[in-house]
């Protein structure tokens, strides 16, 4: 297996409504930033892979249009996943492992403001038994939160702490969207959208884009920058029939913790792709993370660009390692209702 390193990462300022900006205008600034960080041009990139979902903005094949943001002459090796760009990163890692590329450019973009995101997400559910009932994203998360509260796994107070910690940490990320902090009274007395979740418990609707460049050890050495290595990465998915899952736990997340051998290292921080407050204490418990800092970047509760937020948790981990006296970080990406699909990434700072 080749060692693979993150060479650069960039994120657009997350906004609630990108207004006119189309996919090209969202993607191009971040792609240019990662080129600037590495001194690369598209000609130095062996493989390009993106993550996005056309349903978000309602524009069919927006992902093809998105390619106009990058140089495609001469023609390039390219792929796309209709998923969070964290999975585009995974495909890129495989491509490099296969020996088909030395470097890869990954980008993810999402423009959720033109549509009604909680109901766009309904289309992810089973089209026979579930989507005809129009369960929205918030309500599906609420079913899991209710169950966890009922079983005594977590409380509203835990959720409030996760929220305030995230918003407070968002100060570390100049691109974050949310900065206002509700008082505990305001939080606890807020009307529920879908009990036990109020609007405070949900990540904000966000528009934006992020990009990353990864490469082999040789590529990383040539750049001469601080080396941040992807030491381990695993992902898994559970049944879409979530009525047959035990929602009070997550076989996927617990299994990934074992696969990544979380017992063998202690991360200095964890970045979780958590779109609802309850998911933070829930995953902290599932992975037995103790009191390690979670979402120092503010995480998705401070800006949640669909199809980029998973890549962001990996990108923010890269930045935290690069800019601080940290040596090891754990990043998480997820997808689907009730944390159906998950990815864990172990990142390490390597000193030559």
């Amino acid at each position: 297996m080749k060692d693979i390193y993150i060479l650069a990462y960039a994120q657009n300022p997350i906004v609630a409504d990108a207004k006119a900006a189309n996919e090209v205008e969202l993607i191009m600034p971040v792609v240019h930033q990662v080129f600037k960080q590495t001194g690369f041009t598209q000609n130095d990139i062996g493989f390009t892979c993106s993550g996005s979902c056309d349903y978000l903005q309602g524009a069919a094949f927006a992902f093809v249009e998105g390619l106009s943001a990058i140089q495609t002459n001469p023609p390039i090796k390219e792929s796309h996943v209709e998923m969070d760009a964290a999975w585009a990163l995974y495909e890129s890692i495989l491509k490099i492992q296969m020996g088909d590329a030395e470097t890869a450019l990954i980008y993810g973009f999402g423009k959720s403001s033109p549509g009604d995101l909680p109901f766009v997400s309904t289309l992810q559910t089973d089209p026979y038994y579930m989507s005809p009932l129009w369960p929205d994203k918030t309500s599906l998360a609420a079913l899991q939160a209710q169950l966890l509260m009922n079983k005594g796994v977590l409380t509203k107070k835990d959720m409030y702490e996760a929220l305030t910690q995230s918003i407070s940490n968002a100060k570390n990320n100049s691109n974050a969207l949310v900065t206002a902090m509700p008082s505990e009274d305001d939080y606890l007395s807020a009307d529920y959208l879908s009990s036990p979740l109020s609007a405070f418990d949900c990540a904000p609707i966000s528009d934006g884009a992020s990009a990353m460049i990864i490469g082999t050890e040789e590529a990383a050495t040539k750049l001469g920058l601080q080396k941040i290595k992807i030491s381990s990465v695993h992902h898994s998915i559970e049944s879409s029939n979530f009525g047959a899952r035990d929602l009070s736990t997550s076989e996927s997340i617990i299994g990934l913790g074992k696969k990544i051998n979380l017992k063998s290292f202690k991360p200095d921080f964890v970045e979780l792709h958590t779109q609802f407050t309850y998911e933070i204490p829930f995953i902290r418990g599932l992975l037995d993370l103790g009191n390690v800092d979670i979402n120092l970047s503010g995480g998705p509760l401070a800006g949640n660009v669909m199809m980029a937020a998973g890549l962001d948790s990996i990108g923010k981990s890269f930045e935290l390692l690069k800019n601080n006296d940290f040596h090891s970080g754990l990043a998480h990406a997820s997808s689907g209702p009730c944390l159906q699909q998950n990815m864990l990434v172990h990142l390490e700072k390597i000193n030559d």
Partner: protein, 163 residues
């Protein structure tokens, strides 16, 4: 069982959106509302794009320089549509053509009318026929269609994308 078994059911997916045109397209359409066709030029390869999308997809850079093009051009390719398309008010047969405006490096799709269908050909010179100014909006429908100018045809080799 009392009822006949149904082999299919119709899924009921229906979503509402507020689509935005993009900054470059917005600027373009605002000019179209004034009867102008404003292209954008690539700062690297000088290719001229109309309608502009705000980028040069060959070079991967933003296009900012704007230049107004005439409403004349040539037919780069065409098809004669014989099949009615649901929701489309135009009665077949009619000509859909890729029209390369003079000074542009890409073509766009529009209609050609005021022509005998047998006469349509690649390289034919055409000019826009605009709606009455009182009907103009932020849409390319301000141009009803293109019609032949009667000038000599252009050599199709001019359609080659500049290197």
């Amino acid at each position: 069982m009392t009822e006949e078994k149904k082999d299919f059911f119709v899924s009921n997916i229906s979503l509402s959106y507020q689509y935005t045109a993009g900054n470059a397209t917005t600027r373009f359409l605002n000019k179209v509302a004034e009867g102008k066709l404003v292209a954008q030029k690539c700062p690297k390869c000088s290719a001229v794009y109309v309608p502009p999308r705000g980028s040069c997809p060959r070079c991967g850079v933003a296009t900012e320089e704007e230049l107004e093009l005439p409403d004349t051009g040539a037919v780069e390719s065409f098809t004669i549509v014989h099949i009615p398309i649901p929701g489309n008010p135009i009665v077949p047969p009619y000509v859909s053509a890729m029209i390369r405006l003079d000074g542009a490096d890409i073509s766009f799709l529009h209609l050609i009318q005021e022509i005998d269908l047998a006469d349509i050909r690649i390289g034919m010179r055409v000019q826009a026929v605009w709606k009455d100014r009182s009907e103009w909006g932020t849409t390319l429908e301000n141009i009803k269609w293109f019609k032949p100018t009667g000038e000599a045809d252009v050599d199709p080799s001019v359609f080659k994308f500049k290197e």
